[in-house]
């Protein structure tokens, strides 16, 4: 019997042939925490009596969720993490570097790696063919100390996306469409493995967007083959040596196959308060939006900034709609400056935030008021997510977000492209 991507990676890393349902202890290639899960990791690390890290070079603490910190308590949490990094010799990604998942994709994740992060969107690196999954602070503390953890080999769902995406339709629309189809728990404990002609030709940026939201269907990982797109991306990041080809076997076993015709996907939105509560943009046209937020580990990459700039160029935001844009990393920010996107954003009336999670999780920098609606390019629209349980969050692609910013109400990007 052939192997799925998940079975293949976990077999290689645990050095035994495994299949779905097996439990393995696997060596971990990269482990990290961020500033809202890190302090509890430090507490657990100390409670366990651990003294040192198994692999300093591949242990990272990211300060990105509250970056820069909005209050003294979070500033003190940052001190805890800086001290831990200094004392134990781990790597530290301080305020201003960007969102953990974007930095992991740009600089660290390799095809075939196993990556554990104390953040649910660790799945993002699945776009590069890494078995990357989120865990809690205790699990990551143990991984920091031992360099390994236990994992159950997940069953896999094959998602085949074939055909050419219509104009105005992007990777974000594919993943929102899929989550609407299978539900917020449609892939719980399982691996979502993506393939098909649309995926084969999709940029790494798009793959990372889709992998990022695998968790919104409950998946343990969202995996992509490592192919020429992967190789080119790694070469562009000056780490071509990190490339290895990786593909599932043709006779691998899946619990289910879902086929999606790319040509039939339309711009899609997730309505409040769950990600699977999806609708077509055309059905929500005219819904008033007080804040547009563009960025995050889902859609804060250069390709996203380019789409937004192409739509905002020469336009102004609607006077009743504020626009917040946060490039996902320092690299994205610098390139956005170089390409002139930032000037376009600022001239359109947008606020630029530093590379970070920014407004995504409601702790600062764009908290919503009572009854307000936000259209966001992020991955979650749960009640209370953006700092106010009496507010409403819609999720969509960067193109839909930019079109909405101009009109002040949910707008079909195909009208402005």
């Amino acid at each position: 019997m052939g192997k799925t991507l998940a079975e293949k990676i976990l077999s290689q890393k645990s050095q035994i042939g495994v299949c779905a349902g097996d439990i393995v202890i696997a060596n971990i290639d990269l482990a990290f925490v961020q500033d809202t899960t890190g302090p509890l990791m430090v507490r657990e690390f100390e409670a366990a009596g651990f003294k040192s890290l198994a692999d300093k070079e591949h242990t990272i603490l990211f300060l990105d969720h509250a970056a820069p910190s909005p209050n003294n308590q979070l500033s003190n949490d940052h001190i805890i993490l800086r001290n831990f990094a200094h004392q134990k010799g781990s790597r530290l990604s301080d305020v201003g570097e960007g969102v953990c998942h974007q930095i992991v994709a740009e600089s660290l994740a390799k095809p075939g790696d196993i990556i554990i992060g104390a953040d649910s969107h660790t799945v993002t690196a699945g776009g590069l063919g890494a078995f990357a999954t989120g865990m809690g602070s205790s699990d990551v503390a143990v991984t920091f100390a031992f360099g390994k953890t236990w994992l159950r080999v997940p069953e896999s769902i094959k998602v085949l996306v074939n055909g050419i995406l219509p104009k105005g339709v992007y990777a974000k629309d594919i993943i929102l469409h899929l989550i609407g189809l299978i539900g917020a728990d449609g892939a719980t404990y399982q691996s979502l493995e993506f393939g098909g002609s649309t995926i084969d030709t999709m940029s790494m940026s798009g793959r990372l967007t889709i992998a990022n939201m695998a968790i919104e269907a409950g998946a343990k990982v969202g995996l992509f083959a490592s192919d020429e797109v992967t190789r080119n991306y790694l070469v562009d990041q000056a780490r071509g040596n990190d490339y290895i080809p990786l593909a599932p076997d043709s006779d691998a076993s899946y619990i289910k196959t879902i086929e999606i015709d790319a040509a039939r996907i339309e711009p899609t939105v997730a309505k409040p308060h769950t990600v699977d509560n999806t609708a077509l943009v055309t059905d929500l046209k005219g819904t008033k939006i007080q804040q547009v937020f563009i960025g995050t580990c889902t859609n804060g990459r250069l390709e996203d900034m380019a789409i937004v700039a192409s739509i905002l160029k020469g336009n102004k935001r609607h006077p009743e709609t504020r626009v917040i844009i946060a490039p996902a990393s320092k690299e994205v920010l610098l390139q956005s400056i170089a390409f002139g996107y930032l000037r376009t954003f600022i001239e359109a009336g947008a606020v630029i935030l530093p590379p970070s999670c920014a407004a995504c999780l409601g702790l600062h920098q764009g908290v919503l008021g009572n009854g307000e609606a936000c259209l966001s390019t992020a991955n979650r629209n749960f009640k209370g997510r953006m700092g106010n349980p009496d507010a409403f969050i819609y999720l969509a692609s960067p193109a839909t977000a930019a079109a909405t910013a101009i009109n002040g109400a949910i707008t079909d990007p195909r009208e402005v492209l």
């Binding site: 509890l40 003190n76 104390a118 649910s120 236990w150 749960f382």
Partner: protein, 164 residues
């Protein structure tokens, strides 16, 4: 044997319902954070819950974030077990890692306010209010070993490593 009353919740209770991001500044002040447990799902929960009580919910309990604070504040509130039709993967693992039993069973017939008895060893739940008995899905062996030691850190302190 665990005994307590039921606090019933629906489907898709997220980690933002349990401990929202706006309270991130309290994450190193756990007693203060725990005062807000499940605030966005039921603001009266924290004032009514007593030691030993149960949270009973529908599908996909704990969806969302990896924040271990979510099961931690539930445990700190005195909840003795969470009974769900299904749970999100990371939340499930986090709850076990904290020594908080999370049991998968058909929760449809359990009502808010019911009195329950849960026998973890026998795998049986007795609803004393309506006389209904049900069983819960076996906890996987690796996780049961962690749960029985009171969580992952106590397990590691005792065994020195993870054993399968």
């Amino acid at each position: 044997m665990l005994r307590g009353r039921v606090f019933k919740f629906g489907d898709n209770i997220s980690t933002d319902h349990i401990v929202p991001g706006r309270l991130a500044h309290l994450r190193s002040n756990l007693p203060e954070l725990a005062k807000h447990v499940l605030e966005d799902a039921d603001p009266t929960f924290v004032t009514r819950v007593k030691k030993g009580d149960f949270i009973v919910a529908g599908n996909n309990f704990g969806m969302g974030s990896s924040r271990e604070h979510a099961p931690l504040v539930i445990k700190m509130a005195g909840v003795s077990a969470i009974l769900v039709k299904s749970a999100a993967r990371i939340f499930f693992r986090n709850a076990i890692n904290l020594g908080l039993p999370i049991l998968v069973c058909d929760t449809d017939k359990i009502n808010d306010g019911d009195k329950l008895e849960v026998d973890l060893n026998q795998g049986i739940i007795n609803d004393l209010t309506n006389g209904y008995q049900l069983t819960f899905k076996k906890i996987p062996k690796t996780m049961l070993a962690i749960l029985e030691e009171g969580g992952l850190i106590p397990y590691i302190k005792k065994h020195g490593e993870i054993k399968l």
